[in-house]
Amino acid sequence: MGIESALGKGFLTTRMDTLVKWARANAAWPMPMGLACCAIEMMAFAGPRYDAARFGSEVMRFSPRQADVMIVAGWCSYKMSHAIRRIWDQMPDPKWCIAMGACASTGGMHRCYGVVQGCDNFLPVDAYISGCPPRPDAVLHALMKIQDKIKKEHSITLDT
């Protein structure tokens, strides 16, 4: 039936787009941007108990050049925002961003002059995590949301 019969045993057909999205979604390497207490929960997310390796995301890249997902964990001051933006710009496309916890999402309890009231003021955020700090399983949930998003996005085919 169809092309499979012509290929013989050991072949499977799919669309290139699906294959690329499948690969991307299951190897979303995080760029840990640990700024405060949330960073400790983020470490647990990659540790043995919560084990982000199940989703192919245990490879924390401390170089932005090999990272796909930036996890902004903690409150971000105005001074720090420039460094974060620079690292974000150094990450190759396609890339995604998680704002982890109340501070990264909205400024949280730091309602003051020095803290950016939400890192979406200067970054395109894909997933927000509530909590102060959120549990590691909430970070896994955000990661799964990003995976869903990657699987729904177009990768190589274009809208025409």
Partner: protein
């Protein structure tokens, strides 16, 4: 209110009032701590005396207070510790709203360097003869002093720039 001083703090107060009688303004206690308000022009000699003669070798902290009064608006507080005697004393000096200036004690205690920079950054109190009086938390070109009482809690919009949201393209 009568003071409830330990033996060593009593000696501290007695020594200071003996040697610098006209420079001491006020001695009081609050929340179990002892505060000595002194005249700003005697700060250096009193600090030197406290370190060399009374063993207050450790400057634990320097901080500012905005009293928000028309006279002597700002206060700088020195938190001193003597490990040998397990005693803590706070020294306070006051300065005017216009050109608030205090002598730097960083020659006496090296730790004062960053503490004084913090007070300068947050309250705009200048420290005479400080080796490196720069901002420490806020950006170099920031024009305001955030812990002054008239400064709005959420800051002044646009006073600190955020990074641009479009990537730099050459």
């Amino acid at each position: 209110m009568s003071l409830n001083l330990s033996e060593y703090l009593q000696k501290t107060v007695d020594d200071l009032s003996g040697n610098f009688a006209d420079k001491l303004i006020h001695v009081y206690q609050s929340s179990g701590d002892t505060f000595i308000v002194i005249q700003a022009d005697a700060l250096l000699e009193i600090c030197k005396y406290l370190k060399e003669n009374l063993h207050y070798i450790y400057l634990s902290d320097v901080f500012g207070i905005d009293r928000y009064t028309s006279e002597e608006r700002f206060e700088v507080v020195y938190n001193l510790l003597s490990f040998k005697h397990h005693q803590r004393v706070f020294i306070k000096v006051r300065c005017e709203e216009e050109n608030p200036e205090v002598d730097s004690v960083s020659k006496i205690w090296k730790a004062a360097n960053w503490f004084e920079r913090e007070v300068y950054d947050m309250f705009g109190v200048f420290f005479r003869n400080h080796p490196d009086l720069r901002r420490i938390y806020m950006p170099e070109d920031f024009e305001y002093y955030p812990l002054r009482k008239e400064f709005p809690l959420l800051g002044i919009p646009g006073s600190i720039p955020l990074p641009s949201t479009t990537p730099d393209t050459d």
